[in-house]
């Protein structure tokens, strides 16, 4: 089992996103560096539109992730309601 990882800007806009990720992926760990937050999670990490919208209190398009994303590690799958990063092994 390996970690997947996502790195996001550490700014106001990403805050709700980060909160949603931590809520939906309780096994994840965070590492904070100046300007960015790196979130690691064993095998798979899921971002759900609904959770992000609840955190932000407004509609959120999954593709808006592109505005906060700094880096990732793992295979990506995205659709209208989710964005996942996973390893297959």
């Amino acid at each position: 089992m390996s970690n997947v990882s996502i790195t996001l800007y550490n700014n106001d806009e990403s805050r709700g996103l980060i909160a949603a990720i931590l809520k939906d992926n309780p096994a994840s760990t965070t590492m904070r560096m100046p300007g960015v937050v790196k979130i690691d999670c064993p095998n798979k990490l899921t971002i759900l539109r609904e959770t992000v919208e609840n955190e932000l209190g407004r509609p959120w398009d999954v593709q808006q992730l592109h505005m906060s994303l700094v880096s990732l590690s793992g295979m990506v799958d995205e659709d209208d309601d989710y964005f996942t990063i996973a390893w297959n092994h």
């Binding site: 990882s5 790196k38 592109h66 700094v70 990732l72 590690s73 793992g74 659709d79 390893w87 092994h89």
Partner: protein, 507 residues
């Protein structure tokens, strides 16, 4: 037919219809004439439609998101200029990191832009072409935003003034130039593995994340903004690299051997470039973010380990030189720094010796072996400096035929002995810094004998003349301004005057 109420389309379906439907099978011209590069590398593709789109941005969304990023970035750049943000960095030394970045990396972004345009035209699959085209646009963005971000620094600091001209000529910049020339002169699949996979997926995190974090830590608002903003495109690029390699490997079992050869080659080629990054992280950031070795562990051993774990099912293994890179991790930055320190007269940026505090930080990061090996050298150079005899090496270094770095790397298992390798090809002897580079040469000797090696070119009289003055002119390295030690440089004088003003006002 008439128009009725629309059915709901998912993101995936909509994207497929708006992209995959664009292509048709040409009949008036041979497909092989329209896509002449598709087959010569020996990669076998059974079904081009098996390619999975890495991300699903239509052009309208691309414009929308990229415009939003650019609006934010340029707002920061404008206010940085108006408020003279360059005076708020931690120390004048810091700007040397930008000098290396602008002269070495920015032209590389440009090469990536042109290379992805090539790929965006040449691959016979719409999805892959669109992903490559968007990356081509992104890479142009990176080159231009970096030039714009550094533009204000150039008005005050030396060493940033001739970045593209120097990239074509200066000795250490040929390391990066030859890397991208090598990738771009390859076929489309090798380019994809070289830049899309090996560089973007395995190595750029090392370049951008810790480095840009370092910029943030050192008060460089301008660089941190372009850096993270560029990196936000990078996750698309990484996904393209990963989908591409999976696709190639799934198409035919014969592809694995070719791909493995490229991974081995391009891991080592890319890793060699990172030597200069290691030096920047450990020796040039006035406030350090993390030692090179830690970044290497996080981004190569951990993230790369997971990645190669995933590719194992295709029979793909870790690059064959990863072991050597790990052995070098504790000394890479120091060996590089010590070389540049001695080449200060022939460089377009300043070098300097680390302070006592910095040496303590390094010793803590790298342990007793590092202390035993390198502290005496720093002490020796410091003593020479105290006598007013800063050491500069007057001789022309021998360069590795492949990576073009001077021979200063040491044997994997003996850090006291310089690593030399050589191969005779067509009656001539060629020299290498490592088994990795020798291996690459032996795979394609007819390519690497062509290398424009700066030192050879100087000796053949192709670089303005035989004296260092003439050569510096050819490089447009301004003697007494751009080069030598930071201590005593015009940059330092200016920085000190800013600090003096600040103190006067403060008192």
């Amino acid at each position: 037919m008439s128009v009725t109420a629309p059915k709901k389309l998912s993101l995936k379906e909509r994207y497929r219809i708006l992209t995959r439907g664009l292509d048709w099978t040409p009949t008036y011209q041979e497909p092989a004439k329209i896509f002449p590069h598709a087959e010569f590398e020996g990669i076998k593709i059974r079904d081009w439609d098996g390619f999975v789109d890495p991300f699903r941005l239509t052009m309208d969304s691309y414009w929308k998101y990229q415009a939003e990023k650019e609006r934010k970035l340029y707002a920061v750049l404008d206010s940085f200029q108006q408020n003279n943000g360059q005076t708020a960095i931690t120390d004048g030394r810091y700007v040397n990191v930008l000098k290396i970045f602008l002269t070495a990396i920015t032209p590389g972004e440009y090469q990536a832009h042109r290379g992805f345009a090539m790929l965006g035209r040449q691959v016979p699959n719409v999805g892959l072409r669109i992903a490559a085209q968007m990356q081509s646009l992104d890479e142009l963005r990176h080159a231009q935003t970096q030039i714009h971000s550094c533009s204000h620094y150039n008005k005050y600091f030396d060493g940033l003034h001739s970045f593209s001209y120097q990239h074509d000529r200066v000795w250490y910049l040929s390391v990066v130039k030859s890397f991208f020339d090598d990738a771009r002169t390859s076929g489309p699949f090798e380019f994809l593995i070289a830049i899309g996979f090996s560089f973007e997926y395995v190595l750029t995190n090392l370049l951008f994340v810790p480095f840009m974090s370092g910029a943030a830590y050192n008060g460089d608002l301008s660089t941190v903004t372009f850096g993270f903003s560029a990196q936000s495109d990078e996750s698309r690029h990484m996904t393209l690299g990963l989908e591409a390699i999976k696709f190639i490997l799934e198409q035919h079992e014969d592809n694995a051997a070719i791909v493995q050869k490229w991974i081995d080659k391009w891991f080592w080629r890319g890793y060699r470039i990172l030597a200069i990054l290691a030096m920047m992280m450990d020796y040039m950031l006035p406030k350090r973010i993390m030692p090179w070795k830690d970044a290497w562990d996080i981004y190569f051993n951990e993230a790369g380990g997971a990645l190669f774990g995933d590719l194992a099912r295709y029979g793909i293994k870790m690059p064959n030189t990863a072991e050597v890179a790990n052995k070098e991790a504790f000394r890479l930055s120091t060996e590089t720094m010590l070389t540049f320190y001695q080449m200060g007269h022939a460089s377009g940026f300043h070098s300097w010796l680390p302070s006592e505090d910095e040496l303590k930080w390094l010793a803590e990061a790298y342990g007793p072996e590092w202390e035993r090996l390198y502290l005496p050298r720093f002490k020796y150079f410091r003593e020479l400096e105290a006598k007013g005899e800063h050491y500069y090496n007057p001789s022309l270094p021998q360069l590795c035929q492949v990576c073009q770095i001077p021979m200063f790397f040491t044997e994997p298992d003996d850090p006291t002995k310089i690593c030399f390798r050589d191969t005779v090809y067509n009656g001539d002897r060629y020299h290498f810094c490592s088994d990795g580079c020798q291996h690459i040469f032996e795979g394609e000797p007819e390519k690497y004998v062509q290398a424009w090696l700066p030192v050879h070119q100087v000796m053949q009289g192709n670089c303005g003349g035989a004296t260092i003055d003439e050569i510096r002119k050819y490089w447009r390295v301004e003697d007494g301004e751009d080069n030598y030690d930071y201590v005593g440089s015009p940059d330092e004088t200016m920085w000190k005057s800013w600090q003096a003003d600040r103190l006067k006002v403060g008192s």
